[in-house]
Symmetry: C2
Subunit: 467 residues, 2 copies
């Protein structure tokens, strides 16, 4: 009997070990899978955006540089562990960001806030010293510490301050607290404040210089490219929608087409990223084709209109699935003007994207926008003419009529975008290449108006009676 029990215990023990072994094997396997997955995505990341690799090398270089500074300058070591040099290293790590604007913004915020924080703390320390009493002094210091930290923390929530100076306010609180706290025991507060300011300035300088002079990544350029690519994505959708989906003889969707039809979705949620980039861009000096005080606010405006257009496209996208429910006859009837509107708006947006990219005035945009407006007019006329729809089932027209309505709204969005682009091009002084005249679009009326100095034959040719 005992033998059996022992055997059972042995078997149980064996099972236990086996289970543990299996669990361990599973763990190692899943860990390996995770590591391999991460390695693959890390490799992909570097392939997609090699600037990340350059940025990593830059950060490594800047920190090694600031550490060399510490290595060759033992005079910075006069306080225990070389406190001051630490501030310099810390500053480089904390200030160095991906774009020049972000780095500059943080550096300026940090430098000024450190100066202000140290000054205020020094002033308050001097004030507390006047009391003369060894008991009252720390109480006064503690009271001021509490008061000023609380008030400044509160101010941090002001939206205007938060957008551009949040980091500065944080560093102010930091420096003020550090200098105040060391004031309890130490009388050399001013000296400490001075060292902190000097070393932080050194750190800021190294970070900014490395960031600007070795393969810089400009936030302004990124914002500019982002807006341009948003135009491109919306334009691609409209072109594919016009030429392919609305075409009765459409083939199967290729991978390229699917990506063209899905691209606009990233525009829907682009607001925060654009605002952050614009805030960074405002810190940047003149670079490339961008002057100092480049109108970054206009980019946000034009980005907002593009997003608005993307919302409409999202509603339009719902009707991609109605394909089979619409009869061929109606498709053929309503298809031509819808196709025209969609492709012309697509052309407008793609040309805007190109003009944005090259920072020039677009060549043929007036023609395309006029064509889009005329096509929209034709569409309206078609929808408004009862005779067109005699003998056709009313219910069959509804989805196409909705598509048509949405496309008409998209034309007005495109017009707004062109107007906004025009303002941007004027204030950012885009180049006028060998084109006839700058874009001038009016939306007061749906009538096609051609600027006197640019008689667009095509648009005149297509002109229809306005509303």
């Amino acid at each position: 009997m005992t033998i059996v029990v022992e055997n059972q215990a042995e078997v149980a023990e064996c099972g236990c070990f086996l289970n543990a072994w299996l669990w361990f094997k599973q763990l190692v396997k899943s860990l390996m899978v995770k590591v391999v997955d991460n390695a693959i995505s890390a490799k992909k990341l570097g392939k997609e955006d090699p600037r990340i690799i350059v940025h990593s090398l830059k950060v490594g270089f800047a920190i090694t540089l600031v550490s060399l500074f510490y290595y060759f300058e033992p005079k910075f070591e006069y306080q225990g562990f070389g406190v001051s040099a630490m501030w310099a290293v810390l500053t480089v790590v904390v200030v160095f960001e991906f774009t020049v604007g972000a780095t500059l913004g943080r550096a300026v915020n940090r430098a000024i806030a450190t100066f202000l924080g140290a000054s205020v703390a020094g002033g308050i320390h001097r004030l507390a010293c006047f009391s003369g009493s060894k008991t009252i002094e720390p109480i006064l210091l503690g009271f001021f510490l509490f008061l000023i930290v609380a008030v400044v923390t509160y101010l941090r929530f002001l939206p205007k301050l938060k957008a551009r100076y949040d980091y500065g306010v944080l560093v102010f609180i930091l420096t003020f607290s550090l200098v105040s706290v060391s004031g309890y025991h130490d009388k050399q507060v001013l000296e400490m404040a001075e060292t902190r300011i000097t070393t932080i300035l050194i750190g800021c300088d190294i970070a900014v210089l490395v960031c600007i002079f070795i393969c810089p990544v400009w936030a302004g350029q990124q914002l500019h490219d982002k807006i341009s690519s948003n135009f491109e994505k919306i334009g691609s959708f409209l072109e594919v929608f016009g030429t392919d989906y609305l075409n009765t003889s459409s083939g199967e969707a290729s991978e390229q087409k699917t990506s063209d039809l899905e691209g606009y979705k990233s525009v829907l949620n682009s607001k925060t990223a654009e605002e952050v980039l614009a805030n960074f861009a405002r810190w940047e000096p003149r670079h490339g084709k961008f002057r100092y005080r480049h109108p970054w606010g206009r980019y946000l405006e034009i980005g907002g209109i593009a997003r608005d257009c993307a919302f409409r496209i999202h509603a339009l996208n719902d009707y991609l699935n109605y394909e089979t429910q619409v009869e061929q006859e109606i498709r053929t009837k309503i298809q031509e003007p819808c196709k025209k509107v969609s492709t012309e708006c697509g052309h407008v947006l793609k040309e805007l994207a190109l003009a944005m990219k090259t920072m020039t005035y677009p060549h043929t945009i007036t023609i395309h926008i006029d064509n889009a407006k005329i096509a929209a007019e034709n569409l309206k006329t078609l929808l408004h003419t009862n005779s067109s729809w005699e003998g056709i089932n009313f219910s069959d027209v509804i989805p196409m009529a909705t598509v048509a309505s949405l496309l008409i709204e998209i034309v007005s969005s495109s017009v707004k975008m062109v107007e906004s682009f025009d303002k941007l091009a004027t204030s950012a002084r885009f180049k006028k290449t060998n084109q006839l005249a700058p874009v001038r679009v009016r939306t007061n009326s749906w009538k096609t108006r051609v600027t006197p100095d640019q008689p667009s034959t095509e648009s005149v040719h297509h002109d229809v009676a306005g509303e």
Copy 2:
């Protein structure tokens, strides 16, 4: 002649002074205006969200607390300016955030990253010491510094790592650099690393304890409220759109109505804020009605569907301006089912908002969602019946037909939201109050299906033949 010249010079000088004086006056005036403006918006901020005032006092308190610690513990002062105590103060300032989740996330990241950074730096210092050569050692240290900082900076860009551990990776780089750099001159690297870890732990503890135990603000609660208020906003729009805009006897728009019609716009750009809150919420322990591992991912899912619905509403909003262009007759004809769809969807969303707020299963949502589906069916039937539209100008119907189409899409969005809410309610174990059965909605078919144990008389009464 000279007198005249002198007079002119005098006059010019006077003018100069006058100009300077005017400029100075203008400057002071504009500064005053700015200060007053900021003071007003600061006051408004505190009134709108008193938690900001409490948070500011908490930060002030935590920093005063950590400074007291330094004041009463002179043993921390053994290195010059009390370097170690500085790390504690610095940690409190940097770690203390508005919500508990954010504070905890930063504290945990900081503590673990400091430990790892210090360990790796210590290990490499030991490794470099093996070389034995005074020349090779700093070169080796510098090489490893460059290599590890560059690699870790690169890894920082991995999306998964960035979302939750970005701050930790930064602190790792920071600690590693600081400890490595002090290794150049100082042999007591390990001691330094130890002190840094201890003081940072003290700072983290104080920040986390004050943040959690004095009027805590939970990121999870904020996300929960945000999703609920998004439902509320969309619901309000649909209700006002249904009862007021689609009502032929509509009066002038009151301020409340305008805010109800504009509210949904904040939902359009809510993605980033929701993702940030969900990331913070994942760090939070059990609190209130939220367990640890509450399904925050589901909130993002449901938030996405709500945003999708808001995009459709944005397209619907375009048709608010078509009011005058539609004839009374058509409005009356198509109005009833549109109104029904809009108000029923509004009810559904408002009830979802309430159910979310109270964390219970909604009572009458099945009835409302069934009603909305039936109304959508009616609307479809109406649009599909040619006889309804005989004698009516086709063009006049188009805008209303578009509105109807969009409303039908919004019904399917609402159904998706209810389904998603159902999943959330199940996994988050919402309370089942005195209702008959949990929500069960099926979208496979437009047919109204009532769960067997809940014979909703109203929906049965309204039932129409499905597709």
